[in-house]
Every structure is written in C-alpha cells, then in structure tokens.
C-alpha cells in the first residue's frame, strides 16, 4: 500500500468538515428565486376577484408602461406588513396588479378594508396557477414588468421601506 494513500481518508474528512463549517457560519440563503426574471411574462388571464375592478389580461403588460405584479393573499400575515409600502408606491403613480392566491372575494375585501387598497387590478388565482407560472414560491412576492411584457425584477417576501428605492429604480430602468 502506498504511503500517501493512507492520508486520503483524513483529507476527505477534512474536506467535509471544512465544507460543513463554512456552510454553518454563512447561514445559507434558502430563498428560491424565480428563473423567469429577464424572460417574457407568461400570458395569463385572471378573472376579477372583486366586482369593483377588472381582473388581469395579457395586454396590460404591452402598453409601454411598466407595472408591478404583486402576489398576495388575505390569509398571509406578511402581506399585511407590506401594505404601507405598497400604498406608498401606488401614491407615486405605480400601477400595481394583484394576483390573489387561493382566496375569496369576502376575505380579500375585508383585507383591503383593513390594510388599505393600493391595487389597480385584482385577479383571482384560485389554484396558484399563475403563481407557479411566474416561478414564485410564496406570498408575498412582487414582480416588476416592463412595458413590453418582460419580467425585469423579482422581490421575494414583504417589501420594506428600504426596498422602495430599488423597486422604483427598476421601474425607471424599465421605461
């Protein structure tokens, strides 16, 4: 048996320990990001969730003006947390379309009454079909769509105050 071979187990073991130690001290980012960023928004038609405004149709995203698609649900706690930020964006003239996942008109109505209503349109996505088509893996998530129907940015999780400039910049770039 060659001498150096005897050291192989130790080397392998050292490698494993090093790997695990590195991963432990650099808490892994387990967010699953959508691979659709940079690609065209899949075309989807969503029925209106509420009687007072239309649902979502593909043509919306080809009118030359960037829009936000906000995936949300009334049963989702962090969705309430981002309500003020969404309101702020809406106040600055951003068109926000909501995809309400697995939700009912009553619940959505109550949710908007309580937390504010920043949405231009609200489509109902009862089986998470649009969510899956966009590569979104949770609620809330926000996609920035440019005026030609391309997804330019994905924001995972609730939008916080310091996320607003980034989103506005993405909207600006998409013009």
């Amino acid at each position: 048996m060659k001498r150096w071979l005897l050291w192989v187990p130790l080397l392998v073991f050292a490698g494993v320990v090093l790997l695990v130690a590195m991963e432990m001290h650099r808490p892994a980012d387990r967010t699953v990001f959508s691979r659709m960023v940079g690609k065209d928004l899949p075309a989807f038609d969503l029925k209106p969730m509420l009687a007072d405004r239309p649902g979502i149709e593909p043509a919306l995203y080809h009118q030359g003006k960037p829009r936000l698609v906000n995936i949300f649900a009334s049963w989702c706690v962090p969705c309430a947390a981002e309500a003020p930020e969404l309101a702020e964006l809406a106040k600055r003239g951003v068109a926000i379309d909501a995809v309400a996942v697995r939700d009912t008109p009553e619940d959505v109505g109550a949710f908007l009454k309580r937390w504010g209503d920043p949405y231009a349109r609200i489509g109902s996505d009862p089986m998470g079909r649009v969510q899956l088509a966009l590569g979104s893996s949770g609620v809330p998530e926000t996609f920035v769509i440019d005026g030609k129907g391309k997804i330019v940015k994905q924001h995972v999780g609730p939008i916080r105050e310091d996320d607003i400039p980034g989103i506005l910049a993405a909207l600006e770039d998409a013009r």
Partner: protein, 645 residues
C-alpha cells in the same frame, strides 16, 4: 438538593474522566505498572458517578421539580409518568447527559469484564474513552448545565411537542444513543489498538460485541423510526431519503460493514487495517449524523431544536476525535503487520465484497446528503432525493443481496467455485419460481422491485441453507443469529418491493354514505364524529371497511392542538396477515364531501418485521458470542485450577 447533588456528581465524574485519561497516558508513556493498574477502578467509579448524575436528573423529572430550568422547560405536572421520565432525555442537555452516562457505563463494563485483550491496549482504549467523555462533560458543565435552577419557579412547565408524545418516540432517542455509544466504544478499541500497534484477533474479539450491540440498537432505532414516520406523516411513505433519516442510516451501514469485517479479523486474522478504518468511520458517521441533526445545516422534515452554538461545538469535537484518529491511522497502520492471506473464492473474499458494496452505498448516501451543501458553495441550488438514491443505491443493493446469498455458503480460506454453485441450486430454483409467479403481474411493475422480489425469494432460501444437515440443537447461537438476520434482510426487501410494486392508492372525496373499493377492501364512509383527547380536539371519520364477509370500523382523525396551534392527521391502519389498509381523513370540500386518502399496501409489514428479525439475529449473535467467550474463560480457569484435565 437533588439538583445540586447531581451537579456535584457530574463535576466529580468529569474530574475522574480527566484523571483516567492522564493516568492512561502517564502509565503507558513511562511504563508505570502501579499507575496502569489504577486505571480500571477509576473508569468504574467514573461510570457509576455519571450514572448517578443521570439518576438525579430522572428523579427531578419524575418529581417535576419546576425550580430546575430544564424540567420547567420540558415537562409539566399533568404529563403521564412515562413521558415525564422520557422528558429527562427528550431535550438537548438531558440527551448529552444520557450519552456520557452510557459511555461511562460502557467504560466501566470494559474495565470490569474485559480480560483477554493485552492489558496495555485495554488501558489505551480506556484512555481514548475518557477523552471522548471529557469533550461531552466539558460541554455539559461549561455551556449546558442540565441542573441549572430557575427563580422564581414557574407554576407549571411547558410540556412536550404533542407530535413527540408517543411511546415509540420516548424510547427512540435512547435506542439510537446506545447504538452511537457502542460505536464510540468500538472506536476507542481501534484507537487503543493503533496506539499500541496491537491490531490482532484478540482486539477484534474484544471489539466485536460492541459493534454487534451498536448495530442491534441502530437496527431497532431505524426500524422504529421508519414505522413512526409511516403512520404519523400520513401519506403512506416509510422512507423519504431525508437528511435526518440518512444521518441514522449512515452509521448503520458502517456498523454493518464493521461487524462483518471484524469477523474476518477475529477468525482469520485478515483485514486488519480495513477493520480499524471502519471502526473510525462508523463512529465518525454517528457523530456526523448527530451533528447534521442538531446543527440545522441541512433542511429536514424532522429538524428540531436547531442551535448553531451546539452545532459548532459538535463540529469541533468531531474534527478533534475523528481527525486525530485518522491521522493516527495514517501514521501507525503502516507499521501494523500484514494480516493473513486468502483466496479470491473464500468466505473472506465474500465478506470483502460485502464490505466493498456497503462502503459504496455508504459513500453514495454521504455524498448525496452533503451534495446540496457543496452545490450551495458553488452558488447552485439543487435537491437530491429519492430518485437519485433509487437509481444509484438500488442496483448496488441488489448486487449486495446476491453477495449475501452466496456469502454464508462459502468456506473460510479457500473454496471450490463449482461446489459453491452446486450449493446455490436451491436458491436459484427459488428465484426462478418467484419469477414464474410474477410473470402475470410483470407488466405493471418497475424493474427494481421486480428484481428485488426475485432476489428476496432466492435470499430467503439461501439464508437458511447454513442450517441444512446440521444438528440444530448443537448449532451455535451466533449461527442462528446470522441465519435469522439474513432471513430478515430477505423479508424486509420482499416487503419494500411488494409495497412499491403492488400498492393500491385511492384519493377520493366522498359524501357520507358513499363507498369506494381499495385493493381487496370495500371502504364505506359512514360519517364523521367529534373526538376529544387530553390536549386536542378533533374530527374522526367513521369508515366501515369490509373484505369478504368481515367488517371492521376504522376511525382516522384530524386533530387540532391548541398549544402550539397545529393540525395533525392521525391515520387509522388495519393490519392483516397479507398487508395493511392505511386510511387518512382529509379536509372537507365546500360541496360537503370529505377527502379520504386510502392505501392498500400488500405485505408492507414485512419491512418492519424484517428489521425486527435483523435485530433479533443481532441479539442472538451477541448472546452467542459473549456466552462462548464466557464459557471458554471459565473452562480455562478451571484447567488452570486443576479441575479439568
């Protein structure tokens, strides 16, 4: 006072462990017979003190002394006594204390009973054991004192996760710990043998009962854990290739390889370096397993009580012990004499093949489990799961089954290949018979389970052949053990293959009064009724289940716990001779129909029956081996004393 006494006992035990290590080193280094002769007593007292400390903790839990922080956090007055006591080790600190207790008692056992190993090797072994204990003592005393008080004591404790209030789970962790500690003892023996350059059959015989015992407990632990996941998770799966499951499988694979290679060393003085290596690997797998479970580095369904500080500590211990042992191995093994020689067709060669295949499986499980971390380091997110392990491990496991059929029929040292093939006639006939039986079903079965069923038939026959033509009364117990364990493998594989090939699944939504056919059973949905338990309320679905003329009622439940708020599905399982009917009650649809998940799983129980048989075989082998050692020892003593010629 009990808590303070416990803490004092713990400090005393830790100091004795330190003393044990120092005395072993000094005694061996300076050849001081007086110091060496004092190591055994120290080890015995150390073990006793640790056990008393554990006893104190159990007593605190039994009395629910809420002025102790650990009790207040993990127990409450209302719990049944069984869970109160199990609470003592159902938490991080207590489980660590249990670990050192078993470790200390094993050390005491070796010190008391082991007389055949060279004295210096034994002292080195006890030194290595003390070193392992010290690491855990340090952790207990410096950062997670189980006896810490809380002031003012709360009125009631916090209880235990309802999912974990299960008699199976109360004993699941200690079972695995017995296994892990057994492997740590085997590891200590290996380190002692390396330090003394004394890798001999005597060393193998001293280590073998520990490897066997460890394997037996790991087998029991994995089998029970698999059944728990099967009935608790509610989707009918029994093995998910989840990181935590893999963490328990890896030491088992290493221990399986170890107990086969240690036999070659004990009987034929072969595979010296390999056996030492395996002992180190087996213990490192149990440490890595514990680490993966505790540190939360990998995501898992079973992830609980994750704490990075504890993770770092375990990792440091792991690096120290295993890295040290592997370095020692590389430095020393070159000077260990070459073991005995053997032929390519021989029992030894068969066992080498067994070790080769088990090691490959172990390597694949390890790499598959850690690869998502590697990929993350490269900036890629990926998942490794069932399909990967099926594709890679499946074929290797089937080859292993063939080797397993041949192995016990081979002669030691050298065998005639043609004679071997003659001996294999009956198993081959069994395989052909199974193939014939399966032909009508073959269209719907995938390749892996099909081959699995055929090989299981062959293996079942082959595994009992070693008893053929023998006087069964005079057949040694450890041969019975081997036969039963190998038969257990055939039984378990038959169960797995049958479950995978013949399971009938019905996922339906039914109105009350409707029914559905699942495999041989007619399941009628008679209604729902409220159910109430100690700390939950729920709904039970009343299912009338009939087959032929017999009718049974099954009541799968949905349980709602308020603290913490959780919903669990409680499956209801009907076990009959040829399989299980597995039923789960799901949600109620808005149209008033209830979702039901129903499975007919033919022969699925064989999986756990086979696991139990393997453990039983291990137990018989252990009793047989230890009994024989004991008898030869007594006989020798009698000869020495002149009673026998």
């Amino acid at each position: 006072m009990i808590a303070e006494t416990g803490l004092v006992l713990l400090w005393l035990a830790a100091s004795l462990a330190l003393l044990q290590l120092a005395m072993a080193i000094i005694g061996l280094r300076f050849d001081r017979a007086d110091i060496i002769s004092a190591v055994r007593p120290v080890a015995i007292v150390q073990g006793l003190l640790t056990a008393l400390a554990m006893g104190a903790l159990i007593l605190l839990f039994a009395r629910t002394d809420l002025s102790v922080l650990l009790v207040a956090e993990n127990s409450n007055v209302a719990k049944p006594m069984l869970y109160k006591i199990a609470g003592a080790w159902g938490n991080h600190e207590g489980s660590m204390l249990l670990w050192v207790t078993i470790l200390g008692l094993s050390g005491a056992g070796i010190a008391l009973f082991e007389r055949r190993l060279a004295e210096r090797t034994l002292i080195a072994t006890l030194g290595a054991q003390a070193l392992i204990s010290i690491g855990f003592f340090a952790f207990l005393l410096l950062s997670s004192n189980p006896f810490a008080r809380i002031w003012p004591p709360p009125a009631d404790g916090r209880g235990l996760n309802p999912l974990l209030q299960d008699p199976g789970l109360a004993f699941h962790p200690p079972t695995l710990y017995f296994g892990y500690v057994g492997l740590s003892v085997a590891f200590s023996f290996a380190v002692g043998a390396l330090v003394m350059r004394d890798v001999t059959p005597a060393f193998a015989r001293a280590m073998r009962p520990w490897a066997l015992g460890a394997w037996l407990f790991l087998t029991l632990g994995i089998t029970a854990g698999s059944y728990w996941a099967y009935y608790e998770l509610g989707w009918g799966g029994w093995w998910f290739w989840d990181p935590v499951e893999n963490a328990s499988l890896m030491p088992w694979l290493a221990a399986t390889a170890l107990l086969h290679s240690v036999t070659v060393l004990a009987t034929r003085d072969g595979l010296r370096a390999w056996t030492v290596m395996l002992a180190v690997v087996a213990f490192s797998m149990s440490m890595i397993g514990t680490f993966l479970v505790r540190s939360g580095v990998l995501t898992s369904v079973h992830a609980f009580a994750v704490d990075p500080e504890r993770g770092s500590f375990l990792l440091a211990l792991l690096a120290l012990y295993i890295g040290g042992a592997l370095a020692l191995f590389a430095l020393r093994i070159g000077s260990v004499r070459q073991g005995a020689l053997f032929d390519p067709v021989s029992r030894e060669a068969g066992l080498v093949l067994n070790n080769l295949l088990l090691s490959v499986i172990l390597g694949v499980v390890l790499i598959g489990t850690l690869y998502p971390l590697v990929a993350q380091g490269m900036g890629v997110q990926l998942s490794v799961g069932k399909p990967f392990f099926d594709k890679t491990i499946g074929p290797v496991a089937l080859i292993l089954m063939v080797a397993l059929a041949f192995g016990p029929l081979l002669r030691w040292r050298s065998d005639d290949p043609r004679a071997l093939l003659r001996r294999m006639r009956a198993p081959v006939a069994a395989a052909l018979f199974a193939l014939g039986m399966l032909v009508p079903f073959a269209r719907g079965i995938s390749v892996l389970p099909l081959i699995g069923l055929i090989l299981a038939a062959a293996l079942a026959v082959a595994s009992i052949l070693p008893l053929w033509g023998r006087n069964l009364r005079r057949t040694p117990l450890f041969t019975w053990g081997m036969v039963i364990a190998h038969l257990g493998v055939a039984v378990a594989v038959a169960g797995m293959a049958s479950e995978s090939a013949f399971t009938r699944e019905r996922l339906v939504a039914l109105h009350i009064g409707q029914g559905v056919q699942v495999g041989p059973y007619r399941v009628g949905f008679a209604g729902v009724r409220p159910e109430v338990g100690d700390n939950w309320s729920g709904i039970g679905g009343v299912l009338t289940v009939s087959r032929g003329g017999e009718t049974v009622t099954l009541i799968p439940q949905q349980r709602y716990f308020s603290d913490p708020v959780t919903t669990t599905n409680e499956s209801a399982i009907l076990t009959v001779a040829d399989g299980q009917l597995y039923t789960v009650l799901g949600e109620r649809n808005p149209d008033g129909r209830w979702q039901l998940r129903l499975w007919w799983k033919p022969l699925v129980t064989l999986i756990w029956l086979g696991g139990g048989m393997m453990a039983l075989g291990g137990l018989l082998a252990l009793i047989g081996r230890v009994g024989r050692e004991w008898r030869t020892k007594r006989r020798r003593r009698r000869i020495e004393m002149g009673y026998l010629p």
